[in-house]
């Protein structure tokens, strides 16, 4: 069953179109991540779903009910904000029960729901503290708890982990995932962090300029990006790109390098034309094994960045910057010669003009 459905949504701030004819439908119990660079409209879309922004055109359905004109509190949503947005003058308990008191629930029921949320999030010892006396991670837990007590079907997260330090972010990320598995609610999660997106999502919607570029599972987004923007956006370090020319015979020429695209999964079969050839740094094969690959090139390591688990090598191929990510145990120094092997099965090829996947 569809949990949240957005139909032909438009949102204008004055003359600026922030969201353009956006369609999106989210299944019940699904974890959807809206991912994009700042200014792409992802937070705006979330605010529209929450009812905090009036839409310019289109409709929003939650659980089959048209909520386009409904108040935020009547939509059956709970929301978690980046800045936690805890009411500073209330205790944790006051924060959790504020929405329930507004909904005029009976006292025992409020007590019960607060106790349950506190137990799930393990914030029971904090219930009588004020937000000022909590750490960042605890505050965000309380903020999640505030959405939890509302007993809603849809959770909205607006970059909830961006204000936390790296270690806490990783911890809470797992906790959100655990929470989702436990509760099974629909969750819509806005972030600009691709690690969060890849690890949490059932499906990721990559947004750019108010449009969804690709809506697919993390695996598909990573392995078969729909266009060059998505390919460039996902992955760290970013995908390497070469300009080239493909032929209908299934061959490709990158400058002087020519090879066969054996194993490449074409969308519509090979065609003639100018293309972008994209290849992820982590799919490069180094050393003797490279000779087995359809393309093996000699290059020189320019910069080596050892990161412990991985090593990044910066080099140049055919005049293009080329990044390689390899095992941290692979010993290499700047100036060393490399044999770089490329396997077309892992490549992504995009049309030069439309930048769509071919």
């Amino acid at each position: 069953m569809t949990s949240v459905s957005i139909q032909n949504l438009d949102l204008n701030f004055g003359a600026v179109n922030v969201l353009k004819q956006l369609n999106l439908s989210i299944e019940e119990g699904e974890f959807l991540v809206l991912l994009g660079a700042s200014g792409c409209g992802k937070s705006t879309l979330l605010n529209c779903i929450a009812g905090l922004l009036d839409v310019s055109d289109g409709q929003i359905f939650i659980n089959g009910k048209n909520v386009t004109w409904a108040e935020p509190s009547d939509r059956g949503i709970g929301m978690v904000f980046q800045s936690y947005a805890l009411y500073p003058q209330m205790t944790v308990k006051g924060n959790l029960s504020f929405g329930l008191k507004n909904a005029r629930l009976p006292k025992p029921e409020i007590e019960e729901r607060v106790a349950r949320a506190a137990e799930i999030l393990q914030i029971e010892p904090l219930l009588h503290r004020k937000p000022g006396a909590l750490s960042g991670g605890q505050r965000q837990r309380v903020a999640i708890g505030r959405a939890l007590v509302r007993d809603v079907d849809v959770f909205l997260f607006d970059e909830p982990l961006s204000n936390l330090d790296a270690k806490l972010r990783a911890e809470l990320r797992v906790e959100i995932k655990r929470l989702h598995q436990k509760l099974g609610n629909t969750m819509i999660y806005v972030t600009h962090d691709q690690v969060e997106a890849m690890t949490l999502a059932d499906r990721i919607a990559i947004m750019r300029d108010g449009l969804v570029q690709q809506l697919a599972g993390p695996d598909e987004i990573y392995n078969r990006p729909a266009n060059k923007y998505v390919a460039d956006f996902i992955g760290s370090p970013a995908m390497n790109f070469f300009e080239g020319r493909s032929t209908s015979a299934g061959k490709i020429a990158l400058g002087k390098l020519e090879f066969d695209l054996a194993g490449y999964n074409f969308v519509n079969g090979p065609t003639d034309g100018d293309v972008w050839f994209g290849y992820r740094p982590e799919h490069v094969v180094l050393g003797e094994a490279a000779r087995q690959m359809p393309l093996a090139v000699e290059a020189v390591a320019e910069i080596v960045e050892p990161m412990g688990s991985d090593t990044l090598i910066w080099t140049k191929i055919e005049g293009y910057d080329f990044r390689i990510r390899t095992d941290g145990q692979y010993k290499v120094a700047a100036g060393d010669p490399l044999l770089v092997g490329i396997d077309p099965r892992f490549a992504s090829i995009f049309d030069k003009t439309t930048e769509e996947r071919v």
């Binding site: 509190s73 949503i77 904000f81 009411y87 500073p88 504020f98 929405g99 909904a103």
Partner: protein, 305 residues
């Protein structure tokens, strides 16, 4: 490696180490504290003269040593200023004016702060069609000179049947406090995180719920600023008080003026000084009681946003 570290430690021993010494009598300190002292002296001297004069008897004042402390301290001038000084035929001192001022101040300050804070909250958080235009017009009001509108207001109050009465004066104070107070509150509420407001909406709080339960409890400093501005402004007001009220409703400032300016034989400087001090004491108390919050509120609300 260990050898290397020893060398570094040895280097620290000989060179500068720890906090840099700062001499107390540096040119910078002399300039700063010198200026502060001069300014303090400049402002405190008249206050000092007022206090000592109000504690002297008339014979001592006639000697003309205005800076010398009183030889014989007397509180008679204060008593006289409060309860016995004459304005024309009425010899009840400032006390009546004090209570009139209180009767004017409490409703004026309360109403204007209440209305302006709601205005500011609506303008900051509930953007409605034309809210910017409304705000611009309201701010324009802050630049209208009072003197221009005195006569129109006389007519309006007369038509409303409020001329010469305390409610009329309260109305005038509330209206004239509105532009600057609304600006103050709007800027303060704008500086509060918007996500709090959003969270409260998701939690189902309405216009008044968010105002009373979320915004007001977070806004103590700006309420104190508004209170100080209004108490000082309304208490010290002379112009509106003298124009829009009748003698039995005159506020303290107008009565002070009448006491100081009505001469019956001798000019009683000590009584005048005591009367002036009495009149000025309410805003001073408010300021000293909440000075810290005042500074915090000014910094948070008026500068930001």
């Amino acid at each position: 490696m260990a050898n290397n570290m020893n060398e570094t430690t040895a280097g620290v021993v000989t060179g500068p180490s720890g906090p840099k010494p700062r001499p107390i009598l540096s040119p910078r300190n002399i300039m700063i504290y010198g200026t502060i002292l001069v300014v303090c002296f400049y402002y405190a001297l008249p206050l000092y003269v007022m206090i000592v004069t109000s504690l002297k008897g008339m014979p001592e004042i006639r000697l003309g040593n205005i800076f010398s402390p009183p030889v014989e301290i007397t509180f008679q001038p204060w008593v006289k200023a409060w309860a016995e000084a004459c304005t024309g035929l009425d010899c009840t001192g400032l006390s009546k004016g004090f209570w009139n001022s209180v009767k004017i101040l409490i409703p004026s300050a309360t109403l204007s702060i209440l209305i302006a804070s709601i205005n500011g909250y609506a303008l900051a958080n509930w953007k409605f069609k034309g809210s910017e235009v409304f705000f611009t017009i309201l701010i324009f009001g802050a630049f209208v000179p009072y003197q221009v509108v005195i006569y129109p207001i006389v007519i309006i109050l007369r038509e409303l049947g409020l001329f010469g009465k305390l409610p009329g004066l309260v109305l005038v104070h509330v209206i004239f406090g509105m532009p600057i107070l609304t600006l103050l509150f709007r800027n303060y509420f704008t500086s509060l995180p918007e996500e709090l407001f959003k969270a409260a909406r998701v939690d189902g709080a309405g216009f008044w719920g968010i105002y009373f339960r979320i915004m007001v409890p977070m806004s103590l400093p700006i309420f104190v600023v508004a209170l100080i501005l209004q108490v000082t402004g309304i208490w010290n007001d002379f112009l509106f008080g003298v124009i829009y009220t009748k003698p039995e409703n005159y506020p303290m400032t107008v009565q002070l003026n009448n006491i100081v300016n009505s001469v019956q034989g001798v000019k009683e400087y000590n009584v005048n000084m005591a009367a002036t001090m009495l009149t000025g004491i309410v805003p001073l108390i408010i300021y000293f009681a909440s000075g810290k919050l005042f500074v915090r509120g000014i910094a948070a609300g008026a500068v930001k946003g």
